[in-house]
């Protein structure tokens, strides 16, 4: 397994958010973490990369225990994180944003360069020197993914990559994610949009109130409309 998580519990101050979350992502797999707003998707991701101060449980990435590792070491190990809020450096240009993400090539992970990413996201190529704060939401979403890919990760966490984007951009995003998969990247993405998730994922988990309540292939999920309606009704 590329990434395996067992009995993950997370807390914000006195509030217990995640309860014994177990999940796994295999090499080259695209796995969707589905759930409603506030179900715990972002908290799961933030816990995985060490941005939630109080977390318990075992997280192994490529065989190494990273449950106590500091955030930067997790990034260095090749676990890329694309936050839901995008968190573009608004004062920095597109190229400078990419520079922040740059890391040396990593064995066993697809290699990215600035030029290769500009082919994947052609919009970015046209605004290399524009400040991150002066880009549209869709452009920022592309930039945040490209920035993480500059670190040549072997697995990326994509937090709601389709959120708030126009249908046309969503399509581009799906294409980009499939390209990333083709390159051999493992992906764990969170989604509320089941249609988008079905387009690109191999397997899925459903999270509800901080607990994993379903796990299976996309076909398994389609065979259980009751579960889908109970936990994902839009």
């Amino acid at each position: 397994m590329k990434l395996s998580v067992s009995a993950l519990n997370s807390y914000y101050g006195p509030a217990h958010i995640l309860f014994d979350v177990d999940l796994e992502v295999g090499a080259g797999e695209v796995v969707a973490l589905l759930g409603r707003n506030g179900a715990g998707k972002s908290t799961t991701f933030r816990s995985l990369v060490g941005l939630v101060a109080h977390r318990e449980g075992r997280i192994t990435f490529e065989g190494h225990d990273i449950s106590k590792a500091p955030t930067h070491a997790i990034g260095r190990a090749g676990l890329g994180y694309v936050p839901e809020e995008r968190r573009i450096f608004t004062d920095l240009t597109v190229e400078e944003n990419l520079e922040v993400g740059r890391q040396p090539a990593r064995a066993g992970a697809p290699q990215w360069s600035r030029e290769k990413l500009f082919t994947l996201f052609p919009n970015l190529a046209e605004m290399r020197h524009r400040a991150g704060g002066r880009m549209s939401g869709g452009e920022q979403q592309m930039l945040t993914i490209a920035r993480t890919l500059m670190g040549n990760p072997s697995l990326v966490l994509l937090d709601e990559p389709s959120e708030g984007l126009s249908p046309k951009i969503v399509e581009q995003m799906a294409y980009a994610i499939l390209t990333m998969k083709k390159e051999g990247l493992s992906i764990l993405l969170s989604e509320q949009n089941l249609h988008f998730a079905r387009l690109i994922s191999d397997r899925s988990y459903i999270i509800e109130r901080g607990r994993i309540c379903f796990s299976g292939t996309m076909a398994d999920l389609d065979a259980r409309p009751d579960i889908r309606d109970a936990h994902l009704a839009m």
């Binding site: 930067h72 260095r76 968190r87 920095l92 400078e96 922040v100 740059r102 670190g151």
Partner: protein, 629 residues
């Protein structure tokens, strides 16, 4: 005409040092979010080390090598400070960071005196630059020309560093979003350390370059840090360009202010700062800060009014305290009165800082204004003591109305820096306006009325006023006004949404706190029989902060306990050691790192966590009784 040009150029030369120190402070703040109070200390160390090195190294190369080497040496000291101290407090509330770095400043001051002695040191002149240009009959020192050029050169070099190197891009990214930079795999520990080293290097270089212009002494640190705070408030924290523009502006205002108001040149700078803050509260080149971390937040324990038993205990302790004249010597009574006065002072700051969420670094301004208010009324108007005690604090009240209005427009570190700058303005006026205030000689002979002239009676008077003040402020905490103030502290937006005018509430709290501080100052004037500029000095402002911190920022009664313990300790300390600043600085640093909750707060947590469970049932009573004196 040429005179004005020369004055202008001399202003530009002074701007260089100010810019170096201010840009260093801004760079450090940008990434670490720490306002490094010790920056003035590093500036001073730069000057001292450069003095020693240039004395030993000879020749032109020796001089310039000595200057640069001094900055490098001090930067290395900065690295040690960052690794040993700052890394422990990056996540602390900003008040603690300011206090810890201030504690460091105190320690450095005493160490500098230990190593280099208390006297002014005159450094070497720069080889080859000893002469002066003749400019239409006016002389411009060649060295000043060098400094004039240096400012823009450093500005350009910093721009290249931050825009053309990977390190610079990472620093700018970290300035905006540290967590994201970490998630992208950058180890920020070393980024922080290197940024701190650069900032300290710039400050030390600024200090080192001063030695051909000015004598080196151990008061350089506070003098420059106040100017630097003014510069970054005007220019905008975090902006290097802002630091440059504001450094030039402030230096020019100083250069020409002397011509317009020879006595109180700082007034001009103050007026410009006020104007800038009205138009752009975040400074000329600054950006509005996202809602900063709240000052409190170490532990959330609801505040409760005193129980009946606690009230009885309060009265009991008060009666015991009132019995002191039966046992104590006159000296003990004078110390007792002084402690009582500082209880009022600390409780007034606590009201503003813990209840109101406004951590002032210039609370002594109002203490000093109250003291001078009394002195003016008693000496100039010849009013009787009772009238002076009632009317004197009004000067503090007026000061708080004016300064408070500006201050509450800001929050967090800006608020702290602005209040400090205001306090320094009060101090400067007291110090410079010799005709009215007597300057450094102060105003002497402010004696209490015959009725309370004995130590015992004065002690009783102070104790009574203190008890009354503590009760009034406590009642306010649990009044509707207190609820509104605490709501504003905890969430400005939400309290606005339920119809609280938060700026007005904060302003009112500021004025109340300032008035009580002025009352303390008024009593203090009578206790000492004299008034000096130091009654409004930085040291006193920090004393009050330490008292509140020592007692516990987040408790209701901590300030009372903190004031008693701190004042008793410092009176004792001053009589036992020459190095009181070193010890006091060390105490402050330790306090911030080890016991951020203070005496009462630590006591409370111990009870809550069950370690002192036998006290559990009466937990609030126990702490608040202790706080009742």
């Amino acid at each position: 005409m040429s005179f004005y040009v020369v004055q202008f150029l001399s202003g530009l030369a002074s701007a260089a040092a100010l810019f170096l120190v201010a840009s260093g402070l801004s760079i450090i703040f940008g990434v670490t979010r720490i306002v490094n109070f010790a920056h003035g200390a590093f500036y001073m160390l730069g000057a001292y080390v450069a003095f020693s090195l240039t004395e030993r190294l000879s020749g032109t190369l020796g001089f310039w090598g000595g200057i640069v080497l001094a900055a490098v040496v001090v930067a290395l000291i900065g690295v040690l400070v960052e690794m040993l101290l700052l890394r422990r407090i990056y996540r602390s509330p900003e008040l603690f960071q300011l206090l810890a770095t201030f504690g460091l400043t105190l320690m450095v001051e005493d160490l500098a005196v230990l190593i280099w002695g208390p006297d002014d040191l005159l450094g070497r002149r720069a080889p080859g630059l000893r002469g002066a240009f003749d400019f239409f009959g006016q002389a411009i020192p060649t060295y000043d020309v060098l400094l004039m050029v240096l400012g823009p050169v450093v500005l350009g070099a910093l721009w290249l560093l931050f825009h053309r190197t990977r390190w610079g891009v990472l620093v700018r990214a970290a300035t905006q979003d540290r967590d994201m930079v970490a998630a992208l795999g950058v180890n920020q520990k070393w980024l922080f350390t290197s940024v701190f080293a650069l900032g300290v290097f710039l400050a030390a270089l600024g200090g080192a370059l001063q030695i051909p212009r000015d004598a080196v002494n151990h008061t350089m640190d506070l003098r420059i840090i106040v100017d630097v705070f003014v510069v970054v408030v005007i220019g905008g924290l975090g902006s290097i360009t802002g630091a440059f523009v504001a450094a030039v502006l402030v230096s020019e205002l100083n250069a020409f202010g002397i011509l317009i108001f020879p006595k109180i040149s700082i007034i001009l700078v103050f007026l410009v700062m006020a104007a800038v803050l009205i138009v752009r509260p975040w400074g000329l080149f600054g950006k509005p800060e996202a809602a900063a971390r709240q000052t409190p937040g170490l532990a959330v324990q609801p505040w409760r009014p005193l129980s009946t038993q606690a009230r009885l205990a309060f009265i009991g302790v008060l009666v015991l305290a009132a019995a002191l004249p039966l046992l104590g010597s006159n000296y003990a009574l004078i110390v007792g009165a002084e402690i009582a006065i500082f209880v009022i002072f600390a409780v007034s700051l606590h009201f503003m800082m813990s209840v109101g969420g406004m951590a002032s670094f210039g609370h002594a301004a109002y203490f000093g204004l109250g003291a001078y208010g009394v002195a003016f009324l008693a000496k100039l108007a010849g009013l009787p003591m009772i009238a002076c005690l009632l009317l004197g604090p009004l000067l503090g009240l007026f000061g708080a109305i004016i300064f408070g209005w500006f201050s509450v427009q800001l929050s967090g570190v800006y608020f702290a820096m602005l209040t400090l700058a205001f306090a320094q303005i009060v101090w400067s006026i007291a110090f410079q306006w010799v005709d009215v205030t007597g300057g450094d000689n102060g105003i002497l002979g402010v004696w209490p009325a015959a009725l309370v002239a004995t130590p015992a009676r004065f002690y009783w008077l102070s104790l009574a006023i203190t008890a009354l003040s503590v009760v009034v402020l406590r009642v306010l905490v649990f009044s509707p006004f207190g609820y509104a103030l605490r709501a504003t502290r905890d969430s400005g937006l939400r309290s606005e949404a339920v119809g609280i005018n938060s700026k007005r509430i904060q302003w009112t709290a500021f004025v109340i706190a300032g008035t009580f501080a002025a009352l303390a100052g008024a009593l203090f004037a009578y206790l000492k029989g004299s008034v000096f500029p130091d009654n409004a000095g930085i040291a006193l402002s920090v004393d009050s902060l330490v008292m509140v911190l020592l007692g516990g920022v987040e408790t209701v009664s901590g300030a009372v306990v903190g004031a008693i313990v701190y004042k008793a300790l410092s009176i004792w300390l001053v009589s036992y050691t020459e190095l009181s600043k070193l010890v006091m600085g060390g105490v402050i640093v330790l306090l911030v790192v080890m016991f951020p909750k203070g005496i009462v707060g630590t006591f409370d947590s111990l009870i809550e966590s069950g370690k002192l469970s036998f006290l559990k049932r009466g937990s609030s009573r126990a702490t608040q009784t202790e706080g009742a004196e």
